[in-house]
Symmetry: none
Subunit: 416 residues, 2 copies
């Protein structure tokens, strides 16, 4: 067999619903996508469930499913992924949280969950907290992530992930900072809750008095004087993609979380400063890097674009159309750089983020797999409505992964 390679583009939150502003079309249907349309002549399409019909998923679970894992077996909580993103290698017994630097007033009322989306000097704030030793000897590891985000890991004896965080939650700005409590009655849960609260009270003092915050105050910026914890997770035992399929895989993303998941799954990760995980990310640049990775010999190259999801959350259908058109241009660019007679190009999303819902929904995700020797399924236009009649309709993200691996020749025959 001729050796083939594959590129999968993940447009975060790609799926949508008919939008009145787009004359009843979805953003994907409204976008001009000549390059995607060009792939249809040898492609199979469908709307695909991240897990099962009607189950909305977060970005983390969505990607774990796309990478071929059953999240029910390997997902312990977002905190575990953020530890990976922050370069902290979890040990058995560690409890990891995702966190935000945030702002509280003198009465512990959260006035900003993201400290004005602080995006400078968070490394200094993290460093000031990192290595804190609590009364019972538990150590706390703290590493900054993108912008206001931070990874926090508790390392000690007899800890549990069955504790609430200290983040009052998205809809709860203006609430009093939550006190962490045990979710069950076990001693280790109570002990961990106590540890979290001790860390919080010490962290608030350290951050409140920190040089960075003094400077922010002087500059008229709001302080980053607390960390809000949520999504406790523990080390998960998962085989790397290489161990499962013997493939050499790469992930290209601006979003640190996606890179974290990629690392967790044993893939090489690539990023650049100009891959911001935001609207201004260099999408074409990601395509160029993908072509380079193919050239370097990677079997499977994943390109992640976050901005489609942001546009969904922000209810900006025209912005979502614009991003999809940029992705289409990237596909056009890739097709000039790789040998299309030996390369499968696919596109999917981790979940749907319909603009009018402004959140993830359980709607299945438009998905296309194209390649030189693929059966075509006769779908003639790009979009959720058209894909409903496609060959991949109602499959799930694990199926789509397996199909790609099989096309690349990495799935072993069962039986003889």
């Amino acid at each position: 067999m001729n050796r083939k390679q594959g590129i999968l583009i993940i447009a975060d939150g790609l799926g949508d619903r008919p939008n009145l502003a787009l004359k009843g079309l979805t953003p994907l249907e409204a976008a001009k996508t000549p390059n995607l349309e060009g792939l249809l002549s040898s492609a199979i399409c469908g709307n695909v469930h991240p897990v099962k019909a009607g189950i909305p998923v977060g970005t983390d679970v969505g990607h774990i499913q796309i990478f071929g894992y059953d999240y029910r077996k390997v997902y312990t909580g977002r905190g575990a992924i953020e530890a990976f993103s922050g370069g902290i290698k979890l040990k058995t017994g560690d409890v990891a949280f995702r966190g935000n630097f945030g702002t509280i007033d003198e009465n512990c009322i959260v006035t900003d969950r993201r400290a004005g989306r602080i995006n400078e000097d968070t490394n200094k704030l993290a460093k000031a907290l990192n290595g804190m030793i609590l009364e019972d000897g538990t150590e706390v590891l703290v590493n900054e992530l993108t912008e206001h985000r931070v990874a926090i890991v508790f390392r000690g004896r007899g800890l549990s992930d069955k504790v609430e965080g200290t983040d009052p939650g998205t809809a709860m700005e203006g609430s009093r900072l939550k006190v962490s409590v045990a979710k069950d009655n076990r001693e280790e849960s109570k002990k961990t809750a106590k540890n979290v609260n001790e860390f919080m009270s010490k962290a608030n003092k350290i951050l409140g008095a920190h040089e960075v915050n003094k400077k922010r105050k002087e500059a008229g910026k709001i302080e980053a004087n607390t960390v809000l914890l949520r999504g406790a997770g523990i080390k998960t035992e998962m085989k790397s993609i290489f161990d499962r399929y013997s493939i050499k895989a790469a992930v290209i993303a601006g979003d640190l979380t996606i890179n974290g998941i990629g690392k967790m799954c044993g893939m090489d990760t690539f990023s650049k400063e100009i891959f911001t995980g935001s609207y201004d990310s260099d999408i074409l640049g990601k395509g160029a890097l993908a072509a380079e990775c193919i050239d370097k010999g990677y079997d499977w190259v994943v390109v992640h674009v976050k901005a489609t999801d942001l546009a969904g959350h922000d209810n900006l259908p025209f912005k979502k159309v614009e991003i999809i058109e940029k992705i289409d241009k990237m596909i056009g660019y890739i097709s000039t750089k790789v040998d299309m007679s030996k390369t499968y190009i696919s596109i999917t999303g981790d979940h749907s983020t319909p603009c009018e819902v402004r959140d993830h929904s359980g709607d299945p995700v438009p998905t296309l797999i194209s390649g030189p020797d693929l059966r075509k399924d006769g779908i003639e236009k790009i979009g959720e409505s058209y894909f409903a009649k496609g060959a991949l309709q109602n499959l799930n993200a694990n199926d789509i992964f397996r199909i790609q691996m099989d096309l690349l020749g990495f799935v072993k025959k069962v039986g003889a």
Copy 2:
């Protein structure tokens, strides 16, 4: 997010096969359904498996699946549901049967399994049996249901549901009344079989001598001088729909069994005398009540129509067409009474009952979900053949439930 509500119409036994009398169309394809067709402009359709492809189900299992439960985890036998329908609250250890009042001759040959479809004074007959104490102290609770139907519960120590009933079965009129036997070798099974036989012999005597039967004889009607038991079931532990999804749900049905299942799942149930569960049921009246329930604030309102199934069992394709056209009129009526910009209207069946089969088959069930912000899948006509190309094709009844709950905003995201 805008709050939305949903109505699900269950046309019992809706699915069918091409029928020569209908020029090779199915009843659903042959019926004039302008209101259903009107929903297609924002709808997804498909033929849906109650459980899995090729598995025919009973009404009880079909509805349990439609209400989002895996029957393999919660279904113990029809008797348990009929106890609910009859208002008997099962305790752990109880064994419940569904039953018919029937007719036997002096040699215990069953001459009519339904005592001429007796539909009066069954409350008096049930009362005469209710509270019977057997030799070993086991108590028997008996409550009448619709027409010839009755719920029978054995309450005592060391009982088992692993026993045969005493009903010789649908095709077995003219056979001898069955003697209950244990299905396994355990003592409690043997004991329960003995209890059932003791109950039968006492019940036959009591009924044979009952005033109601004397009067029936005088009036030239056949006697209801036995009860035929089948479908042993025990108490099941199931979370209510409210506990699972925090929704307020209502069931509108004429059929007591459907109301029993609704109650078992924690839904409010509504019925009226004119909802007969038969051909003469007031279908339009059910639609009016559904609109009232939406007005009262129910999140999800289920309307059940039995007559489509009856027409299948009776091999009356034109009757089935007529009932489907009545359901279509009900949908038209509902659409004038509720705010269609905030209401999802869906239709499905619990199983297929093809006229020529005269019984439930494993054919998937035509299903449609419509609503203000739904993706359309481009299906342009109503019917099994057209729906095969729809977005819901080959999903199962649990999926369809979850999709509705997700559209209403009641499914929690997994992951973050």
